[in-house]
């Protein structure tokens, strides 16, 4: 039986080769797109590490209209007057590296004989509280830490685990960015470039002129009362302008920034998925057309088989098996090439992404092909033998 089916497939090798190629290409496209989607969405399950609800960010740049000593006083004044506002709950400062700023400052050294590297933000002591970040071990910065003999650091879990393994690192002293640095706490995560960012080594350094005076506090982070609206932002804007004596600053809504950053990542994903759906639909419809046409043309064959006692079920089985065999062959081909990507480590990406891509692409192709084959086969099986044979 199966041998006969193979002969039938072989007899129409020209048309079948085209069909095979089409399914193969569809599989490759599906595999590529699904892998891309998995790669991106996998990272969504990691926490962002900070809250954006009711937060506002003000960036005012280097404030070159003041000299080094007055700049600090002006910022202190800004903080006081902002906190005096009724609907402002917390205010903290940070350098150019922060939530959705799309800038990175990184440092690496191997002074201890192994690699210590991380991207860092330099922040004020109340940064963690203002941005609603989570300390999982150790402690937060405090106001008194400014007098510390070391540069103080809070690292994220990825940094601690990748660099030091399972060891308890709280209160250890490591070299970092040219200063003796004490790790005082561990935060769960700090994906400041947005939710789609891969979890990487991130640390916070407490701003201290003695160790990191080069990092100017160019941004203010505000936690607002939920009832503050746009009109209220104008009040803040007025306050900033009159204190900093410049109007070159930007006030941004954190939830909006987050939405925008997410949108930037979702657009290609949705566009690619949309194209994929269209391609699948296109292939499915084409396949359906081709199959219903070719199965229709084999009425005589069906009639004959029915006349000598073949079941309707076995007719359906024959046609679907034929098509599924072709599709299976195409998928096998495709999977053979696709599986090389994780095996040869072509890309520096978790290999499970590709295996899942292959799995889901296979499933989708086979389901679509089965559906496309089933309907014309069922129609063919309903043909009355007498009528079918009469036609020829």
């Amino acid at each position: 039986m199966i041998k006969h089916i193979f002969i039938l497939i072989w007899n129409k090798k020209g048309a079948n080769a085209l069909l095979l190629l089409e399914v193969l290409l569809a599989f490759i496209v599906l595999f590529a797109v699904l892998s891309f989607v998995f790669y991106n969405t996998d990272r969504l399950s990691d926490p962002l590490g900070f809250e954006t609800e009711n937060r506002k960010y003000i960036s005012y740049g280097d404030l070159d209209n003041f000299n080094d000593s007055t700049r600090i006083l002006v910022l202190e004044e800004l903080k006081r007057s902002l906190l005096d506002l009724e609907l402002v709950e917390e205010v903290s400062f940070g350098n150019d590296v922060g939530p959705f700023k799309s800038s990175n400052w990184c440092h690496g050294n191997d002074d201890l004989g192994f690699d210590i590297s991380a991207c860092y933000s330099v922040v004020e002591y109340d940064f963690i509280k203002t941005n609603g970040m989570n300390i999982v071990e150790g402690r937060d910065f405090t106001e008194h830490d400014l007098n510390a003999t070391y540069q103080l650091m809070i690292g994220n879990q990825t940094f601690i685990e990748e660099t030091f393994g399972e060891k308890n690192m709280i209160d250890s002293i490591i070299p970092f960015q040219g200063a003796e640095t004490k790790i005082i706490g561990i935060m769960d995560e700090y994906k400041y470039n947005g939710e789609f960012e891969e979890s990487a080594n991130r640390v916070l350094l407490l701003s201290n002129p003695e160790f990191n005076g080069y990092a100017r506090m160019t941004n203010a982070y505000l936690k607002m009362d939920p009832s503050a609206d746009v009109a209220y932002e104008e009040k803040i804007s007025y306050m900033v302008e009159s204190t900093l004596k410049t109007s070159s600053y930007v006030i941004q809504d954190a939830p909006l920034l987050r939405k925008r950053s997410n949108l930037e990542n979702w657009i290609p994903i949705v566009a690619l998925l949309g194209m994929c759906v269209f391609l699948c639909l296109n292939v499915a419809l084409g396949l359906f057309g081709v199959l219903s046409y070719s199965i229709n043309r084999r009425k005589a064959e069906v009639g004959l088989r029915r006349a000598i006692g073949a079941h309707a079920g076995s007719i359906i089985q024959q046609f679907t098996f034929e098509v599924l065999f072709l599709a299976g062959l195409a998928v096998l081909f495709g999977a053979f090439f696709a599986v090389q990507i994780p095996i040869m480590n072509v890309m520096d990406v978790d290999s499970s992404v590709f295996y899942r891509g292959i799995l889901y692409a296979t499933l989708i192709v086979l389901v679509v092909v089965t559906i496309c084959a089933l309907y014309p086969s069922i129609q063919a099986s309903r043909i009355h033998p007498a009528i079918a044979l009469h036609e020829d």
């Binding site: 070159s248 391609l279 081709v290």
Partner: protein, 445 residues
């Protein structure tokens, strides 16, 4: 003859509605998506105002100051060997670290070193890093501000709705003049017409609007308002002695081939430029690399280490994306057409019996397929325009405004033609090859 083929093609389309619908669905969607891609490419890298001279353009985006440290690293590796501890020492000389500062230029630096590039016909220096807020009628208006010199208006051919750009004297005399986009005019003044002469407050200064332009609508030049650079009150951006600021340089040559010459000029200037005196304590290498527009664009999107590499990758990605987008529907159409040959067998048989040769038949079926593709293309065009409208309306691509111009229609036409030819040739060849006798034997009309 061709008009007969076209008539016939349209008749055939009406004959089997189900198959026609399937084919047209595939064709129109494919072409719509391709047209959308063409529109994005046209807008972002095509020669459209205000950047009609993209192909002759060289961009120098930033200044890079470096110092490289070399260091010997010893690695001690202790292992137990035959019960005794063995120390294995190795050392490598490598780049242990570098001081690296990378930012845009201070205005003085560009003016001093890059205002005499021999092969550049036009050039401009501008700063597009500033955003200001203003609160109008209880809502926030954000200004993306460009500080530029007067040459900005020569290099970019912004389309003026009214008024004009500022000249050299306005820049030197620090006149409070501004050119704004229709978009900002609408947001700030609530009107698009008769805006010239109105006063707009920004950065605690009252600027008089002297011109209104259509928004540029591309990523590289997202701007709402353009004012003379002498108003850039963040003094450091203009005069910072270490050369860093917020400005970049753009150069345009006489013809496309000048791009290479300008790049050479700038590289030559770079090799003869010393690190600014105040920065010499920390840095000893100075670099400012020139890029063609397309390299700069690819670099911005892909952000690889090297702009040229980015451009190469982007081309590959675009080609493979378009390739897959075309190949699948084409194969689909071929499959469909090939399996339907028999429908037309009696017709082919009769025509052949009356002396039509293979090429005539081939030609007829290719024409037929092209007619079908064009009908699909027309539907696709409508869909593409709908997509473009939706994308522009919802600002899905941020500041990018997709454009429709004659080049877009021209490219769409070519895409349709290629698609029709490619998907029609194989089935038409099969049909033309059909033997007269066997064709006539299939006697179902």
């Amino acid at each position: 003859m061709i008009s007969n083929y076209i008539k016939l093609a349209i008749r055939v389309l009406g004959r089997n509605k189900f198959f026609t619908a399937i084919s047209l669905f595939g064709i129109s969607f494919t072409l719509a998506i391709l047209m959308l891609i063409v529109s994005v490419m046209e807008t972002e890298v095509g020669q459209t105002p205000p950047l009609s001279e993209k192909d002759k353009m060289v961009i120098v985006p930033n200044l890079n100051l470096k110092r490289q440290f070399y260091d010997t690293i010893y690695a001690y590796d202790t292992t137990m060997y035959n019960g005794a501890q063995v120390i294995d020492t190795s050392f490598t000389l490598n780049e242990s670290g570098q001081n690296n500062s990378n930012n845009e230029f201070a205005y003085w630096f560009l003016e001093k070193h890059l205002s005499n590039v021999p092969n550049a016909k036009k050039f401009t220096f501008f700063n597009s890093n500033n955003v200001y807020n203003s609160y109008v009628n209880n809502s926030k208006v954000e200004f993306k501000t460009v500080y530029s010199d007067h040459r900005f208006w020569d290099l970019f051919d912004f389309q003026f709705v009214e008024g004009f750009g500022f000249g050299e004297s306005a820049v030197e005399n620090e006149e409070l003049v501004a050119v704004i986009t229709t978009e900002l005019a609408d947001k700030y003044f609530g009107k698009v017409e008769n805006v010239v002469g109105e006063i707009l407050e920004m950065d605690r200064k009252n600027f008089k609007v002297i011109g209104v332009v259509e928004p540029a609508g591309i990523m590289l030049l997202a701007v709402d308002i353009i004012v003379p650079y002498t108003h850039d009150n963040i003094d450091a951006q203009r005069r910072n002695e270490n050369g860093f600021g917020g400005y970049m340089g753009m150069f345009v040559g006489e013809k496309n081939s000048d791009v290479g010459l300008i790049k050479n000029d700038i590289e030559f200037i770079n090799s003869n430029t010393e690190v600014p005196a105040v920065a010499q304590d920390n840095y000893d290498i100075i670099e400012f690399e020139p890029f063609s527009f397309h390299e700069a664009y690819a670099g911005q999107i892909l952000d690889l280490d090297d702009e040229e590499e980015s451009l190469k990758w982007m081309k590959w990605i675009m080609f493979s994306l378009m390739g897959f987008l075309i190949i699948l529907p084409t194969l689909n159409l071929i499959n469909l057409n090939v399996s339907r040959i028999m429908e037309r067998s009696s017709e082919i048989g009769v025509r052949k019996a009356f002396g039509a040769d293979r090429n005539t038949i081939l030609f007829q079926f290719v024409v037929e397929n092209i007619v079908q593709t064009f009908i699909g293309g027309l539907i696709g065009l409508v869909m593409a325009m709908l997509f473009i409208y939706i994308i522009n309306d919802t600002k899905l691509m941020g500041d990018v405004i997709l454009k429709l111009n004659y080049r877009f229609f021209f490219f769409s036409l070519i895409i349709c033609l290629i698609f029709g030819l490619v998907s029609g040739l194989l089935p038409a060849y099969r049909m033309s090859k059909m033997h007269v006798v066997s064709a006539l034997k299939q006697n179902k009309l």
